[in-house]
């Protein structure tokens, strides 16, 4: 194995060896990980951009920390993710809305799940992906399984300290840093001579078109009970 590239796209084998076991250390503030090595952020961003621009079926996997509007920061971050997606030719967005094991199984075109992320990667033939807004523990599980069983190039845009098992890992990434990455990506795209007009990714084909005028509590499935008042309960105010 190339000593400089400890963490490369897989499949790395039946039982993946974690980057941390191979001696990969998380980068200090201001630095990033590229193939398991600590490098300058811009170097890592350029390699990540190249992967998203040149590999098949680039996809962004947003997690709960950007999918749900917890706070102003999360909402701004979600906007920045959409802006990034618009600049990546033929980019798709497949959400990781939560971490529950799903019965009877997930729809791999509709979502990615940390309990078997390889199903989504393999079904959609995704060869480059970005994890953003996924809690570190679940991102690490997913990144390791993806490296074990697929040839996908993984990029982690982490709000915390980063991920050893991603080919590219940026740390302390919030809306501003996502927009910085977007600018680098646009620059690399121009350098590669790729013509692209920014546009939103396609609608998720497995999700019914949302019609907010006809929404029913039943649309919320097993969560419907959370929306409907219980017997005798009077809801006078809501957010």
């Amino acid at each position: 194995m190339d000593k400089e590239k400890l963490i490369t796209p897989g499949p790395s084998g039946y039982m993946p060896t974690p980057g941390a076991f191979m001696g990969v250390e998380l980068p200090p503030p201001g630095k990033a990980l590229l193939y398991g090595e600590i490098v300058d952020e811009e170097t890592a961003m350029r390699e990540a951009a190249k992967a998203m621009l040149t590999r098949r079926n680039p996809t962004i996997f947003p997690g709960p920390l950007v999918l749900w509007g917890w706070n102003a920061g999360a909402m701004e971050k979600a906007k920045a993710v959409l802006e990034l997606a618009m600049e990546i030719p033929n980019c798709r967005i497949i959400p990781m809305p939560d971490y529950r094991p799903k019965y009877p199984k997930i729809d791999p075109e509709a979502e990615i799940n940390p309990n078997h992320p390889n199903l989504t990667i393999l079904h959609n033939k995704i060869e480059a992906c970005i994890f953003v807004g996924v809690h570190c523990h679940y991102a690490n599980l997913s990144l390791r399984m993806i490296r074990a069983g697929t040839n996908c190039f993984t990029i982690a845009l982490c709000a915390e300290m980063g991920h050893e098992d991603a080919m590219v890992s940026l740390r302390d990434v919030h809306a501003e840093e996502i927009r910085k990455f977007k600018d680098v990506l646009v620059q690399v795209r121009k350098e590669l001579g790729i013509e692209w007009e920014p546009k939103l990714p396609p609608e998720n084909p497995s999700l019914p078109k949302e019609d907010w005028t006809k929404i029913s509590p039943l649309d919320f499935g097993e969560y419907a009970a959370l929306l409907m008042p219980r017997k005798g309960e009077v809801v006078e105010e809501s957010e």
Binding site: P18, K105, C136, H137
Partner: protein, 388 residues
């Protein structure tokens, strides 16, 4: 109780002025908890108890700890700790020997649950036969569960390791329980000098949203896989997810090392790094090893000491480097199984230089002369026995 102001962990642990006090190991645990902004402490008293959790109870009465209660038994105490921490609280508990083993099923599930907590352990041997003495065989049970395990030599270590344990355990890249073990009686009941920072300072409160897992949500693993057994053994929860989950726990354990350097100056302390013969020891055995090294130096013998502060993560590289020129390695221990000797043998290429012992157990003291005998043997020096 003085009004406490929140300061950064770095200031409280590394920079704040310190004042010397003469206190027991149990008091040292309590002094650390006093400054740690602890939300809840849960305990179950059993023989052999130390007064640690009683003193923490006093802290509750004084207002330093926000909540405190006696659980129904150890399993309940350790499970309640998990619940409190998953709910966002900063928690502390302490136990020992038989109590530790009764709570062990809950305790060894903490790392997989990603429970950042500090647990004090005053080693008191494992039944049977019944004993309440300071034998540390129970530490062997903790080494393979993913916990961060620190082993305190004296009262000062108890304070420093416990206080630093909170920020280490709560780092997003770690997020594991930190165990601070020390020998019951020898440290918990005896007094020693401890340098303490001011008691009007405390750590920042825990931020449960600064975490690698979401705060309490019973719909996500591991809460769900506990509640919903079929999920564990099915296509929904594959064997691979369990494999990489375990890997994540042990990756996190390794990541703790940089914070052990940051807050505790590293996982080992080396005295006389150019020695021919090394004593490698942890906990109270390190205190006796320190004395043996001093005796040896007085006799003109080239003997060094490696005190192992962190048992998990185990300082593999550091010990291998420190022992690269050693001709013999003596590993004194307070247990019969020799868990530290096995660890040391496993990380150096020439394990034949490791002397298995001396070991004492059942609560017997470890005379310095026992270690000196091994030093003389290793150096080919013939001496008369110097103890009765």
């Amino acid at each position: 109780m003085p009004e406490q102001r929140v300061v950064e962990p770095e200031h409280l642990i590394l920079e704040a002025p310190r004042e010397r006090k003469f206190i027991t190991g149990s008091q040292a645990f309590a002094e650390a908890v006093k400054r740690a902004n602890v939300d809840i402490a849960i305990a179950y008293p059993i023989t052999p108890q130390s007064e640690t959790m009683h003193l923490v109870g006093d802290l509750f009465a004084q207002g330093y700890v926000k909540d405190y209660y006696r659980a129904e038994e150890e399993y309940g105490a350790m499970s309640a700790i998990a619940g409190a921490v998953r709910g966002g609280a900063r928690a502390f508990s302490a136990t020992s020997g038989p109590g530790l083993l009764r709570g062990l099923e809950a305790i060894v599930s903490w790392p997989g649950h990603r429970i950042p907590v500090v647990l004090g352990i005053m080693t008191r041997v494992v039944n049977a036969p019944l004993s309440i003495q300071p034998d540390n065989v129970e530490i062997a049970y903790l080494l393979h569960s993913g916990l961060v395990v620190l082993h305190a030599e004296n009262q000062q270590d108890v304070f420093d390791f416990t206080l630093a344990g909170f920020p280490i355990s709560e780092k997003v890249d770690v997020y594991l329980p930190v165990v601070v073990a020390t020998e019951g009686f020898f440290v918990t009941h005896a007094k020693g000098y401890v340098e303490l920072p001011p008691e009007d300072m405390k750590l920042p409160p825990r931020d449960p949203y600064k975490a690698p897992v979401p705060p309490t949500d019973c719909e996500i693993p591991p809460a769900r896989i506990q509640r919903d057994a079929p999920v564990q053994k099915s296509n929904f929860m594959s064997y691979l997810i369990h494999a990489v989950w375990q890997q994540e726990v042990w990756s996190a354990n390794r990541r703790a090392m940089k914070w052990i350097y940051h807050y505790l100056g590293g996982p080992i302390e080396v005295v006389n790094p150019k020695a021919d013969v090394f004593i490698v020891a942890s906990g109270c055995a390190a205190a006796q090893g320190r004395e043996a090294q001093r005796y040896a130096e007085q006799e003109g013998l080239n003997v060094g000491l490696i005190k192992v502060k962190s048992l998990r993560p185990f300082p593999e590289k550091e010990i291998r480097e420190a022992l690269k020129n050693a001709k013999a390695v003596i590993v004194p221990e307070h247990n019969i199984v020799g868990w530290l000797a096995k660890e040391v043998k496993a990380v150096i290429p020439n394990s034949g230089i490791v002397v298995d012992g001396p070991r004492v157990y059942g609560g017997m003291t470890l005379p310095v002369e026992l270690i000196m005998e091994e030093i003389y043997k290793a150096l080919g020096i013939k001496r008369e026995r110097t103890y009765a």
